[in-house]
């Protein structure tokens, strides 16, 4: 069970963030003020922090800067009403690890926290494995059991991202940001189509499906 600190001044939003994270099995503390939030975060013991960008007492940017200055490297998800690209860049430069814009879907927030919580795990591995699916990052090859998969470079990157976060829910926006490197809504169902093509190669008939659709949210790679 992970301990998460939510620093958010809107009580209803804070309650819903907490409920969503608790539903995923986490323990959540809520603070409505920037300064108090910083003190709690500095006291330590948290695995991740959700941080509102605009807070009474102390601005979210200052909170995260202070945290980093104090040597606390707890992953921080910044949640902001400021959507423009510059605000995002400033948030990440100040020390935020991810940036989510209001209004957001709670599933998206929970998925991002989940990714932050497991950040760093398996980062140095050169071969990724999920069930009988194996991805060799050095040789750039993929195989399912004894079958070698013929993947395009883009499909390889997509599969690598899904496998690195096996067991986690990944939203379409997260996939687009991580694999393509852009931060906007690509529209229609373009990510679904890419996942569909990858799925036809990875989950060929006769194999156990590994890429699962999480209804209304995104995708997850896992063995059943």
């Amino acid at each position: 069970m992970a301990r998460i600190l939510t620093i958010e001044d809107d009580a209803v939003t804070a309650r819903e963030i907490a409920a969503e994270l608790q539903a995923a099995g986490n323990e959540v503390d809520c603070v409505g003020d920037g300064r108090a939030g910083l003190e709690r975060a500095l006291a330590g013991g948290y695995d991740a922090i959700t941080l509102d960008r605009m807070l009474p007492g102390m601005d979210g940017l200052e909170v995260v800067s202070e945290l980093r200055r104090a040597g606390v490297d707890t992953p921080v998800l910044m949640i902001s009403a400021l959507s423009d690209v510059d605000a995002r860049v400033r948030g990440l430069r100040a020390g935020g690890d991810d940036y989510l814009t209001k209004p957001f879907a709670p599933e998206e927030m929970a998925a991002r926290i989940e990714v932050l919580l497991r950040r760093g795990a398996g980062a140095r591995e050169t071969t990724l494995r999920v069930g009988d699916l194996e991805l060799d990052l050095i040789a750039r090859t993929a195989r399912r059991g004894s079958v070698v998969l013929d993947l395009l470079p883009l499909e390889f990157r997509l599969l690598e991202y899904l496998m690195r976060h096996a067991g986690q829910v990944l939203t379409r926006t997260m996939i687009f940001e991580a694999v393509w490197g852009y931060h906007f809504d690509p529209g229609t169902n373009v990510i679904d189509v890419h996942i569909g093509r990858l799925r036809r190669k990875v989950d060929a008939p006769g194999f156990e499906p590994l890429i699962h659709t999480v209804r209304g949210c995104g995708y997850a790679m896992r063995t059943s």
Partner: protein, 470 residues
């Protein structure tokens, strides 16, 4: 951004416009020339008239004198007159009653000359005994008491020569006045034109949306400065008003974010509390789909507003168009394939652009997404880039139903959806093209929508290169 924006760049001082000073000088010069021609004509006419009178009175006086002397002395006097006339301007002749030559240097009476003692013009002149024939002359003939006829003529060329001297003198004066006048005028007109060019380059940022820019006002405080000061005052007002409007919309947008987040999170909670197969859960799920669509539109709307804020130019850098197009193609090719649409990429040797790479990708992506949406199953979409007249032109072509000409400006407005898009178009929120237009405006690019042959739409972005950007 529409076609008129693109055309506006060609309307600079270096384009169709002409200097008003230059025009005034040319008009003034034309009047001056016309007036001088009239003046020369009048002086010449007056002078000729005056000299005519003198020549005629000389002839008349001489005739009166000679007619009064003794008849026998007349041949000798005529001969003396000829001898004394060194320039050969005078000619005379004495004929008997039958018209036969008696004395003088004219052998025959000119035909048609009235013998009435009055001066008449002789356009053909007279033939002298020496064989010489003078040109235009004035002549007078008088019948003497014994029936003889005395003829006196005077060469008229001298009057013509005086007229010629006056004409050429005035023409010289005209050219000596006109040439420095035109040259000076041209030099004078260059000054204001240079200042208009400076004003044009100063107003470029304003045209791109930076209302903080102002026109230069010089120390001269002349008409141009007066105009620039008026425009500056107007810009201050526009900036203030737009700032107020933006402030209001920003607060509305900001105030809506939190309630929308609450709505979405609480719907999600209700959904989690429901059980599988419960009709209420299905209802909640539909509500979530609707709420997500609402959030998408809201985010897109905010993004357009954000793009309209000029402060985003910080992210501009050199961008490889070919690479951007290849990435867009890579992202959307599977989507086209699903619809059995042939999606071609044509991008060879396109120069580097000055742009925000992420926004350029987003704009082109939106155009391609739109084209794939409107191309029929089995249709064609082309994404291409080329260099044209020192600009990079990015085009997305489809063979769908196209956008009617009268709707092309409207589709760039938020939430407008073409009637031609049909009821089957369930996807899209009418914000894709306004977003592209906002990105184009931010970059100072021209974004136009045209017909594709034989049918379909041609979306066109005309972009600045890295070296000559605004």
């Amino acid at each position: 951004m529409n076609a008129s924006d693109a055309a506006s760049r060609q309307d600079g001082p270096s384009g169709r416009w002409r200097s008003s000073t230059k025009r005034l000088i040319l008009v003034y010069g034309a009047f001056f020339v016309a007036w001088t021609v009239v003046l020369v004509g009048a002086i010449r006419w007056q002078t000729a008239n005056y000299l005519d009178g003198i020549v005629d009175s000389i002839l008349e006086q001489r005739l009166r004198y000679l007619s009064s002397v003794e008849r026998t002395r007349l041949p000798a006097l005529l001969a003396a007159t000829t001898q004394l006339d060194l320039h050969g301007l005078m000619a005379s002749g004495l004929f008997d009653a039958q018209g036969h030559y008696v004395a003088g240097d004219i052998e025959h009476l000119p035909e048609g000359l009235a013998i009435d003692g009055r001066v008449h013009p002789l356009p053909e002149g007279v033939q002298r005994i020496s064989g010489e024939r003078a040109g235009r002359m004035h002549a007078v003939a008088l019948r003497l008491a014994d029936g003889a006829v005395m003829l006196l003529a005077r060469d008229y060329r001298v009057v013509d020569q005086v007229g010629e001297i006056i004409r050429s003198g005035l023409l010289w004066a005209l050219s000596l006045t006109l040439v420095p006048g035109l040259l000076g005028g041209y030099l004078l007109s260059r000054g204001p034109l240079r200042r208009v060019r400076a004003i044009e380059s100063a107003i470029q940022p304003v045209m791109r949306g930076d209302l903080g820019a102002r026109l230069p006002v010089s120390e001269r405080r002349d008409e141009l400065d007066m105009l620039a000061a008026i425009v500056n005052r107007m810009l201050e007002q526009v900036e203030r008003l737009l700032g107020e409007v933006k402030g209001v919309s920003d607060s509305i947008a900001h105030d809506l974010r939190t309630p929308l987040t609450r709505l979405r999170t609480q719907l999600h909670r209700v959904q989690q509390l429901g059980s599988e197969g419960d009709p209420r859960s299905q209802l909640v799920e539909r509500c979530i789909v609707e709420a997500d669509a609402l959030l998408d539109r809201f985010r897109a709307l905010l993004r357009i507003s954000e793009l309209e804020d000029i402060g985003r130019r910080a992210g501009f850098a050199a961008v490889d168009v070919g690479d951007t197009l290849r990435r867009v193609h890579e992202l959307y090719a599977p989507l086209a394939e699903e619809k059995e649409i042939a999606f071609a990429l044509e991008a060879d040797a396109v120069p580097t652009l000055r742009a925000d790479g992420h926004l350029l990708f987003e704009a082109i992506g939106n155009l391609v997404d739109n084209a794939i949406k409107f191309a029929p199953r089995g249709g064609h979409v082309v994404l291409r880039a080329a260099s044209e007249d020192g600009r990079a032109v990015i085009e997305v072509l489809d063979d769908g139903r196209g956008i009617p000409a009268d709707e092309r400006d409207a589709v760039l407005r938020r939430f407008y959806r073409s009637a031609a898009s049909g009821a089957d178009d369930a996807v899209g929120h009418g914000l894709g093209l306004p977003l592209v237009a906002a990105i184009a405006r931010l970059h100072g690019y021209a974004f136009t929508i045209a017909d594709n042959a034989p049918h379909g739409t041609r979306m066109r972005l005309v972009c600045w290169l890295v070296d000559d950007g605004p």
